[in-house]
């Protein structure tokens, strides 16, 4: 089994929510603020919902979709925002642009949307995250060690390496796939993991799927020997 000198270090992170004081009461205000809020706000509202509600998968909507659908009451726009393929977008800017263009199109085609207002006290409050990232004790030099670490780390760690990494490194891949390809030369396995859509399953389900792919790879390696 291949062993690398550059081990995979499992990180984790915890978030604290910071209030920005920016609130939208209707769709035009949401659009205006979406154009200018910090990147961390966009990330917060398209990803936190997923992590906070791990047990509700598949496909929980993002915060914008939930608000337009359930608070403003426009299911159509809510569905359009929920359907944005975040998996195909590798940067916060791309996610922001997709949100903006979806809402712009909706406002152009259905001007009545401009009249919809959130009930008092239920405006969309933009939050951002302050992230505290840290190394976990789990380190892998081999594929077996990687599987062992993956079994033990928290869901926060999986979220960090699968979701945040894509946006941190600006590629449509993740930390796991990068290391498997670069260090263990397991390109096929790396590609299989990179193709998984983490947005449409819980992190726990995602962990099980990745572990299954690794176990299959380990079995294949064993057979070859």
């Amino acid at each position: 089994m291949k062993r690398t000198k550059n081990p995979f270090v499992f990180y984790s992170r915890l978030n604290l929510f910071e209030l920005t004081g920016i609130t939208a009461k209707n769709v035009p205000e949401l659009l205006k603020h979406l154009r200018s809020v910090p990147d961390s706000c966009i990330y917060q509202h398209t990803h936190h919902f997923i992590q906070q509600r791990q047990y509700l998968s598949p496909e929980p909507p993002n915060d914008f979709a939930y608000w337009t659908s359930e608070i403003l009451g426009d299911k159509y726009l809510g569905e359009e925002i929920a359907s944005i393929d975040i998996m195909s977008l590798s940067t916060i800017k791309a996610i922001r642009d997709a949100l903006v263009s979806t809402i712009e199109r909706a406002l152009a085609s259905r001007p009545a949307l401009k009249q919809m207002k959130a009930p008092l006290g239920q405006g969309f409050a933009f939050l951002k995250s302050v992230s505290f990232a840290f190394k976990t004790p789990y380190i892998a030099h081999t594929l077996s060690e990687f599987a062992a670490g993956l079994k033990k780390v928290t869901l926060n760690s999986i979220h960090y390496h699968m979701f945040e990494a894509r946006l941190r490194i600006g590629k449509t891949t993740n930390d796991f796939s990068l290391w498997l390809a670069d260090q263990l030369k397991l390109d096929k396995l790396a590609n299989r993991i990179a193709k998984l859509d983490p947005y449409s399953q819980t992190d726990e389900r995602l962990r099980a799927t990745i572990l299954k792919l690794i176990e299959d790879e380990l079995k294949r390696t064993k057979k070859k020997r």
Binding site: Q52, L56, F132
Partner: protein, 408 residues
């Protein structure tokens, strides 16, 4: 008093390890909590449980309580009410009492910890020590100030902006401020008497104590008798439900002998319920086990408030995996995403429809209840609160959005 290890079976060992790790990063820092009462009220309840847990992890922390005379607490009660939106005025003399007591407390109480964590408006003036000490200051607002009287808020604001950070319980409660503001929701303690799983025998005994039979499904609202909790609206909703489902209603609240308005509301509730079958209006003494049992015995828990702070009675019901129908006010929409963790309503008719839906679809009600419990487990238990307070303390020393700490 529970220790951290007691929470492991509920939230998982990994989460407890993460909290311990974060706490270890506070080594060498001291934290002083200050509020206005050592007993009674939600703030004291939380601090009573949280401070021993912080100490268990080696954090150098303590808790002080300010002093004040009757006049001072009359003013602070008025401040509290006006921050909640009550139309009242605080005159110059009353503000004089407030600030003079603040100055006296500042002279008597040394705030020289690395972090002074000040809870609510009563001790707000202590921040005047900041210049001399050069330490960090946090103001924790436990009040829903979304409808605050601006005359009162503006006076307090002059002090709030002297702090390094402010903390609010819900996004809607925050105000434009030139300092950092954080969102930290309150929490419930799953190991407290109010929230532990009770044996069926105890639940039955409590029902018997109040003369409630368990053969018909029970719909319950636990709240003091206050117009803002809309107990009359609950009875009206129940009347609509009762046409289709043979059920019973419990309105359980504290005694109202010291509250003239409470007595008036209770009287009106009794009048409205007079000709409605199967309504139980219960004056429950401060007894956490009784409240717990009534919630556990319920088929549906209602919180039809017109205004609400965070709504911890909703959190308690969700934690007991009860299907909940609640108004979309205050912190309730944070706890209930409509049709995910419970049902939100905005009117008597809406509440009636939702209660009916849950009573007639027990599988759906059970699914919502399970989701609700899991939502609370992940987001509204004491351990999450503890973790976020530690991150809040750390944030004072790291201004960036991403902070890299050493190894776990």
């Amino acid at each position: 008093m529970p220790v951290l290890a007691d929470y492991e079976p509920i939230v998982g060992k990994d989460r407890i390890e993460e909290i311990k790790f974060l706490a270890s990063r506070l080594e060498g820092r001291s934290i002083q909590h200050v509020n206005s009462t050592a007993v009674g009220g939600g703030v004291a309840e939380i601090l009573n449980r949280m401070i021993p847990l912080l100490k268990e992890m080696g954090v150098n922390t303590w808790w002080d309580v300010i002093k004040g005379g009757e006049k001072f607490f009359q003013v602070t009660k008025k401040i509290h009410n006006t921050l909640h939106g009550a139309k009242d005025e605080i005159d110059k003399e009353q503000w004089g009492v407030f600030w003079e007591t603040g100055r006296q407390n500042s002279a008597d109480l040394t705030c020289d910890a690395d972090i002074s964590f000040i809870h609510d408006p009563q001790p707000i003036a202590l921040v005047d020590q900041k210049g001399a000490r050069g330490n960090k200051w946090i103001w924790r607002c436990h009040v829903d100030v979304s409808h605050a009287q601006s005359a009162v808020w503006d006076v307090l604001r002059r002090y709030i902006i002297k702090y390094d950070s402010a903390v609010f319980s819900a996004p809607a409660f925050s105000k434009p401020l030139p300092i950092r503001q954080f969102l930290i929701a309150p929490s419930i303690d799953p190991l407290s008497e109010k929230n532990v799983k009770l044996p069926k025998k105890t639940v039955d005994e409590v029902l018997k104590h109040y003369g409630v039979r368990s053969r018909k499904p029970i719909v319950t609202q636990v709240s003091r008798f206050d117009y803002l909790k809309d107990p009359i609206g609950v009875i009206d909703a129940f009347k609509q439900v009762k046409k289709y489902v043979d059920c019973q209603l419990i309105l359980a609240g504290g005694t109202a002998s010291d509250d003239p308005e409470g007595a008036e509301v209770l009287q009106k509730v009794r009048e409205r319920a007079a000709d409605v079958k199967d309504v139980h209006i219960l004056l429950v003494p401060p007894n956490d086990t009784h409240i717990n049992a009534l919630q556990q015995a319920s088929a549906v828990v209602v919180q039809k408030s017109l205004r609400e702070g965070f709504g911890l009675t909703v959190t308690e019901a969700l934690w007991k995996a009860k299907p909940v129908v609640a108004s979309a006010v205050g912190g309730i929409p944070l706890q209930i995403k409509h049709k995910y963790h419970g049902l939100l309503c905005r009117s008597v008719d809406g509440a009636a429809f939702a209660i009916k839906q849950l009573l007639q679809n027990p599988d759906y009600a059970e699914a919502l209840g399970k989701n609700g419990r899991e939502h609370v487990r992940l987001n509204y238990l004491l351990t999450r609160h503890l973790k976020e307070y530690i991150m809040l303390f750390l944030s004072l020393f790291y201004p960036d959005d991403i902070v890299y700490l050493d190894s776990l």
